[in-house]
């Protein structure tokens, strides 16, 4: 059962996202909560709707505070979550790191496209190493200092040496008194996924086409990352031959020459076989091309590779055909003809930027 507060919260979320009640949109403030991560302040996005009231303008108001300080001293930033009615939004905050929540983004995407949650394949014994705090030791970083244990040690020492005075019970811990939390590495089961991006970089793929691929990959990446704890990405570019490259090269390479898609599928298959055993990994190859494959039976070879090697191994194989200035190729039709009841294979035509939306839905709408 959905609790009542969840209903109220989802109603609030929908207002923030502009689905309902547009008259309230202008009162939305994109506030943030200031958290602390180590030495840095981090910002946690916190949208709020500020219903208008008759209230005082804040800026010129003073207030009352408590503490040391000379007249004229500037006040430091207020403590996070400090409840001071007078100085609510008082001094400027020092923001050092801003984290835009990718989780929130993925959630938005998921809701927007009504994507199903992915069911990881099988139950595999994939493990990951995690730190677990288990004990106490006498050395360690200050950030792990155990206040109570340190204090108790100090008290013990003072009692033993007779310096403890019950009437003036001040206990000052010294270095040997300090105790720190210690940890052990444990292995926990986890789901891992790898995304193999394959892009056709033959002469017919222009900048506009690459931009489409990039935008679409970003969103796919975001979504899959929200579904798996750990994601690895591999990048393959191909024209007549295929090479594995890093992310930067992937988006910036511009080759020329013919197109032999089978070369890329072969390489993809090799990478999977070498690094990603099917029993341990959820595998997602995404292939983008303008579909203008070289004649001479290469398409047949591709179909064979897919049917015999790739499809049995992957969760999902996505083929996106981008329309280029030279028109759209034949490859997508060939695939659709060969795989009439596509299961692990999804194809999608991407005419222009506006079609990205639909295409993502086609790719990820299966929940695999």
């Amino acid at each position: 059962m959905v609790s009542r507060i969840e209903e109220d919260k989802s109603r609030f979320d929908r207002i923030v996202r502009g689905r309902i009640k547009n008259e309230l949109r202008k009162y939305i403030t994109h506030g943030e909560m200031i958290g602390r991560k180590g030495k840095d302040y981090v910002s946690i996005p916190l949208p709020q709707i500020d219903i208008p009231h008759f209230r005082y303008g804040r800026n010129k108001q003073g207030g009352v505070g408590q503490g040391e300080g000379e007249i004229g001293d500037a006040l430091g930033p207020p403590g996070p979550g400090g409840e001071n009615p007078g100085a609510g939004d008082a001094p400027g905050q020092h923001m050092m790191e801003v984290d835009i929540s990718i989780t929130e983004l993925a959630k938005l995407l998921g809701e927007e496209l009504e994507l199903p949650r992915i069911q990881p394949r099988g139950s595999k014994n994939i493990t990951a190493v995690r730190d677990k705090y288990v004990g106490i030791r006498t050395t360690g970083p200050e950030s792990l200092r155990h206040f109570k244990r340190s204090f108790r040690e100090a008290l013990k020492r003072e009692m033993a040496t007779g310096t403890y005075d019950p009437d003036n019970p001040i206990v000052v811990p010294m270095q040997p008194d300090k105790r720190y939390r210690s940890w052990r590495e444990v292995r926990l089961p986890e789901n891992n996924a790898v995304i193999v991006y394959i892009m056709d970089v033959s002469g017919s793929m222009g900048d506009e086409q690459k931009e489409i691929v990039r935008v679409e990959s970003f969103w796919i990446d975001t979504w899959l990352r929200s579904q798996y704890k750990q994601i690895e990405s591999r990048y393959i570019v191909h024209d007549a031959v295929a090479t594995e490259v890093d992310q930067k090269t992937f988006y910036s390479t511009r080759e020329s020459g013919g197109t032999k898609i089978s070369s890329a599928y072969k390489l993809c298959n090799e990478i999977i076989d070498r690094h990603y055993p099917v029993s341990d990994w959820n595998i997602y190859p995404f292939h983008f091309s303008d579909g203008d494959n070289w004649g001479g039976g290469d398409t047949k070879e591709c179909v064979r590779l897919l049917r015999e090697d790739l499809l049995p191994k992957v969760n999902l194989f996505c083929y996106g055909q981008v329309e280029s200035p030279y028109g759209s190729g034949q490859f997508i039709k060939d695939l659709e003809k060969e795989f009439r009841e596509p299961d692990a294979l999804v194809t999608s035509q991407i005419k222009d930027r506006d079609a990205i939306y639909e295409s993502i839905k086609q790719f990820l709408g299966k929940g695999r």
Binding site: V64, G65, L75
Partner: protein, 504 residues
């Protein structure tokens, strides 16, 4: 002593022994039901202002979102929540350590004592749990009947005006006697006699026929009634005025009255924040350190207590101020440091040694907790010595540096500022002056300016909300940059008109 389903026998025993201890100290509270909840339930309950059965509205979802994020990023955690009700409900966090539960229970009993005995809370409804559930049912009924959007939008409008109640009224007024609708001849004006045409005696009945005169009198009376002011004197409870006079359908009237009732229920808690928290903190420290603490718990207790009264540099913490004031009062009344003798004494050394062994400190703080609210509490008991000892200061905004700076440690200035913040609970004082402005049924409100301007964009949007209820043009007289202005919304556009101060 009742206990919720998830309260362990150990906690129940603890609750009982702490209640007994609290009674032995003289605390007097309602039966208190402790419920143990997990953090998510706690956040949910807190988002609903303590009432799990409250009416549905997105704003509670927003509060919940905030609490959830605050909790999951480790910024804040609610240890306890207590409801002013008879019996009182208190929620404890499941994951609290035993020492925390002790502290929290001691704290809770003092809060409930405060709810039961402080005068500000006297008019609050002690069956609020039921009332809130009732409100919830009614709102759900309207949602079903008139649609979610219609009901919710109307609630938004009401929420926008929910600070327009009379915060310092001693009791919430239900309905006022109906305003006057007739006027006697004497009240109709000094020249209430209808002028007659001059006529000779025998012609009188023909030239000034009695029927005509009566007609004229009637007309004058009517006019006088029209000129009668509604309300008769400025009305601080704007929501009540709207309830009685705005042309609303029944269901909207009911929603408005729900919002108003809840605003009145929560008002005393805002009015006594410093005192209430100070009182609860005073008692939990006393009971914990004198009786309840086990030796092994001292360090954790000290750690958590110092968190409660921690003041961020330059900040302000009502728990700490309240606690310090109560202790100061107890000491002064124990040592007889009050009355004319003490006030007139100029000898600093004598004042330091002053101890008349009057020993009435405890009695005094119990009296204070019954009779005062934050404003009178600070006004009466914050002394210059206290201010100096606790290093209070006044800060102001500096345009050039875009920062706040400490600008004074002068006692009067600090106290003035604190009282200003507390008066009307930091809300501007706005009253209805005329419900028939310009004799055209327009609504005229006046903001009593006390040095700080209103936020203009929000004020104009709030006028829009008022218009939605009043359905005739609405005006607000206020001061903007030291000039008297009237902000108007006539249903289509906003206008600002400057007036002379005396025009009001």
């Amino acid at each position: 002593m009742n206990a919720g389903s998830r309260t362990s026998p150990e906690l129940q025993r603890l609750a009982m022994s702490i209640a007994e201890l609290a009674r032995s100290h003289g605390l007097d509270f309602f039966d208190t039901i402790f419920e143990v909840v997990d953090y998510k339930q706690m956040n949910e309950i807190a988002a609903y202002g303590g009432f799990p059965s409250r009416y549905p509205h997105w704003s509670f979802g927003m509060g919940f979102d905030q609490l959830e994020k605050g909790y999951s990023y480790g910024l804040q955690k609610i240890y306890e929540m207590v409801i002013n009700n008879n019996p009182s409900y208190a929620y404890l966090l499941e994951c609290n350590a035993m020492v925390d539960q002790k502290l929290v229970m001691a704290h809770v009993y003092a809060h409930v004592d405060f709810f039961k005995n402080n005068l500000c809370f006297a008019p609050t409804n002690r069956k609020m749990m039921d009332v809130m559930a009732n409100h919830g049912t009614r709102v759900r009924k309207y949602v079903e009947k008139h649609g979610e959007d219609a009901a919710e939008s109307f609630l938004d409008t009401c929420h926008s005006l929910d600070n327009l109640i009379d915060f310092h009224a001693l009791s919430q007024v239900r309905r006022r006697p109906v305003a006057k609708t007739s006027v006697s001849d004497e009240e109709a004006g000094p020249e209430h006699e209808v002028p007659r045409l001059r006529a000779k005696q025998y012609m009188e009945n023909f030239i000034n026929p009695e029927v005509f005169l009566e007609e004229q009198r009637e007309r004058r009376r009517k006019k006088a009634v029209e000129q009668l002011k509604v309300p008769e004197s400025p009305e601080r409870d704007v929501l009540l005025f709207l309830l009685e006079h705005a042309p609303l359908p029944r269901w909207q009237q009911d929603l408005l009255s729900i919002v108003r009732d809840e605003a009145y229920y929560f008002a005393p808690q805002a009015q006594t924040k410093i005192m209430n928290e100070g009182w609860a903190t005073y008692w939990h420290t006393k009971m914990m350190t004198e009786t309840l603490l086990e030796a092994s718990e001292v360090v954790d207790y000290a750690d958590h207590h110092s968190g409660t009264v921690h003041t961020p540099p330059g900040g302000f913490n009502p728990y700490k101020l309240g606690l310090a004031l109560f202790r100061d009062i107890e000491e002064r009344w124990n040592k007889g440091r009050f009355g004319p003798d003490w006030d007139d004494c100029e000898d600093w050394a004598a004042k330091r040694r002053w101890d008349k062994k009057t020993g009435v400190g405890r009695e005094k703080i119990f009296e204070v907790r019954r009779l005062y609210n934050d404003v009178t509490f600070v006004d009466t008991f914050m002394t210059e010595d206290f201010c100096r000892e606790h290093k209070l200061f006044h800060y102001a905004y500096n345009k050039q540096t875009d920062q706040y700076h400490i600008d004074s440690r002068d006692f009067q200035k600090v106290k003035q500022q604190l009282l200003f913040q507390l008066t009307n609970f930091g809300q501007p004082i706005i009253s209805v002056v005329n419900g028939n402005h310009r004799n055209r049924g327009e609504l005229y409100l006046v903001h009593q300016h006390e040095g700080a301007d209103l936020k203009l964009d929000q004020a104009e949007d709030s006028l829009r909300s008022l218009y939605r209820l009043w359905q005739r043009p609405v005006h607000l007289e206020t001061v903007v940059f030291e000039r008297h202005k009237v902000l108007t919304f006539d249903g289509k556009e906003h206008t600002r008109r400057e007036i002379k101060a005396a025009d009001a």
